[in-house]
Amino acid sequence: MIKLTELQRDALAEIFNIGVGRAASSLSLVVGEEVVMSAPTITLCRPEEAESVLIGAEFRQFSMVSQEFSGSFDSRAMPVFPESNALEIVRLMAGAANLSLEELSEFEQEAMSEVGNIILNACMSALADMFRVELEGSLPMHRFGDSKSIIFQGAAVDDDESVVLLLQVDMYISQRRVHGHILFLLNVRSLSNLLGLLDRYLKEQGLA
C-alpha cells in the first residue's frame, strides 16, 4: 500500500487547510455568524480501515453527503458526521428544534447536503487551484447510515485497488465544537495522479 511521505502529508494538510478555511467563510455567509474550521489531520488508509475509524465508539449512525469529482484525478468525496453532530449542525445552522435523525425532514436533509457541498467544493477547488488543474463535480447526495456497507455504497471499492484519504476536522459554530470526517475515495491510478500533482507542486515550491 502506498504511503504518504511526511512532506506530502504536510503539503496536503496545508492545501486542505486552505480549502476548509474557504468552506468556513462560505458557511459563515450562510449562517450569518462566524464559523471556524480547524486545520485537518490527514491519513491515507484502506477503505476497511476508514470504516473502522468511522464505526468506532462515536459513530453509531451517521449522516453523509457524497459528491463525485472527475478530472485530473477521480474521487468520491464524502463528509461524514456522526448522528449527534449532524443533528447539532442542523440545529445550529438551520435553526431546527431538537430532532432525531428519523424526524429530519427533507429540508434538513437538503441543508445537510448544502453544508457538505460547501465543504467539498471549497476543498476540491483549493486542490484545483494549487495544482492548476480542472476538476468537475456532481451534485451532492445525502443519506444516513448505520452499517459499514453504506459508506461506500454504490462505489467500486476493491481493497487492493482503492484507498481513502481521511481528513479529520472540527467545525465551530456558535461556540460549539462539531467533529467530523471527510473521506476521499480514490483508486490507485487516481491516487498516483494526485501524488504526481502534489510532487510537481512541491518541486515548484522548491520543497522537493
Partner: protein
C-alpha cells in the same frame, strides 16, 4: 437558421415544458435561457431578460451565497444546492399576483450545475423548485406535534406538568440520582380547605387560586426542579441535588410564600388567608434499597402529618431515621 440557433431554440422549447424554473447563464452570467415558469413567477418576459446579467434582474443576490455558487459553477465547474432551510428566499419569485402584491416570496430550492456547452446552452444551469407548500406543511406539522406534546404533558389549567408526565420525569430523575449518587427530594403540597374556598368564592375564583399557587411554585423551584399537578388541589415537586436540610428550608419557604400572597380565605378555619400543607422526603444516599414509590409515599406521609398538625405546616419525613420534623 444555423444548427446552433436551431438547437438553442429546441432547448428553450424543452425548458418551457418544465414546471420548475430553468435559467441558463453564459460565462458572464448573462441570461441565455429563461423558461415560461420563470416568466410567470418572476413577472419578467423572456425578451426583456435575455442577454441581461442575472444580478441586474435580482439585485438582492449580490454578495450572497447564491452569487458565490453561480460564480463557482461557472468558473470552477462545482455544482451547488441551496436549500430553503439555510437560505432565505433570495429571488423575487411569486406564485401569483396576490403574493406579489404582498411580497410573499416563494420558498425555493435551487440546484446549480456547470454546463459543458457555453456556446449553445450557456455555462451554468439553475433549476429552481417551488417548495413553499412543503415548507409550510412541515412548519404546520411541527407546530401540531409541539401542540400535541404540550397537550399530553401539561395540565391545561395551571401550565405545570400533568400527573402522568410528572411521574415519567420523576422516574427519570430517580434513575439519574441512583446513577450519580446525588440526593433526590419530593415535596407534596395541598391547599388547605380548598373545598370550602371553592364553595365560598365559586369555581372561577378557585381555579384562579390554583393558577396563582402553581405560578408561585414554578417561580420558587430552583433550576432543574420539576412541578406537577398531582390531584385536584395537590401539587408535587421534584428537587435534585438538595439534601434534607435544603429541601426542608425550601418546603418551609414555600409555605410562607403562599401565606404571604394574602389570598383571602374567609371560610377557612385555619386562618384568614389561603395556606398550604407541605410534606417532604429526601432520598439522601440513593444507593439505599428504596424505590421511587417509597420516596413518594414518604412525602405523602409527611403531608398527612402536616394536615394532622392543624394545616398551614411543612413537615419532612426523614427516610433514614424514620421520624418527622418540622421544616425550617
Amino acid at each position: 437558421m444555423s444548427g446552433a440557433a436551431l438547437m438553442a431554440g429546441q432547448l428553450a422549447a424543452f425548458a418551457d415544458a418544465f414546471s420548475l424554473g430553468v435559467v441558463t447563464l453564459d460565462a458572464d452570467q448573462h441570461v441565455v435561457i429563461w423558461n415560461r415558469w420563470m416568466e410567470e413567477c418572476a413577472g419578467l418576459k423572456r425578451d426583456d431578460v435575455l442577454g441581461r446579467p442575472l444580478a441586474e434582474l435580482f439585485p438582492d443576490i449580490a454578495g450572497t451565497r447564491l452569487a458565490e455558487a453561480i460564480d463557482f459553477a461557472i468558473r470552477r465547474r462545482m455544482p451547488a444546492i441551496l436549500s430553503p432551510a439555510l437560505n432565505r428566499s433570495l429571488l423575487r419569485l411569486y406564485k401569483d399576483d396576490d403574493d406579489r402584491r404582498h411580497d410573499r416570496r416563494m420558498r425555493h430550492l435551487i440546484h446549480i450545475v456547470h454546463l459543458r456547452d457555453p456556446a449553445q446552452a450557456g455555462a451554468c444551469l439553475l433549476q429552481i423548485s417551488d417548495v413553499t407548500a412543503a415548507v409550510n406543511r412541515e412548519r404546520l406539522l411541527r407546530q401540531q406535534a409541539e401542540n400535541l406534546r404540550v397537550a399530553t404533558q401539561m395540565d391545561a389549567l395551571t401550565g405545570v406538568f400533568n400527573r402522568r408526565h410528572f411521574d415519567v420525569l420523576l422516574g427519570q430523575e430517580f434513575r439519574k440520582a441512583q446513577a450519580s449518587g446525588a440526593p433526590l427530594g419530593v415535596v407534596q403540597l395541598d391547599i388547605d380547605e380548598y373545598g370550602r374556598f371553592s364553595t365560598f368564592y365559586g369555581q372561577a375564583a378557585a381555579e384562579r387560586c390554583l393558577l396563582d399557587v402553581a405560578n408561585a411554585l414554578k417561580d420558587s423551584v430552583p433550576d432543574g426542579g420539576i412541578v406537577g399537578r398531582y390531584g385536584d388541589d395537590q401539587f408535587a415537586i421534584v428537587l435534585s441535588g438538595l439534601d434534607e436540610d435544603a429541601v426542608s428550608e425550601f418546603a418551609e419557604n414555600l409555605r410562607l410564600r403562599i401565606v404571604a400572597m394574602a389570598i383571602p380565605h374567609e371560610g377557612a378555619k385555619s386562618g384568614r388567608f389561603l395556606s398550604v400543607s407541605v410534606g417532604a422526603a429526601v432520598m439522601e444516599s440513593p444507593g439505599q434499597e428504596i424505590d421511587v414509590n417509597a420516596l413518594v409515599s414518604s412525602s405523602d406521609i409527611a403531608l398527612f402529618q402536616a394536615r394532622n398538625e392543624g394545616r398551614n405546616a411543612a413537615i419532612l419525613f426523614s427516610m433514614a431515621e424514620g421520624n418527622f420534623r418540622n421544616c425550617a
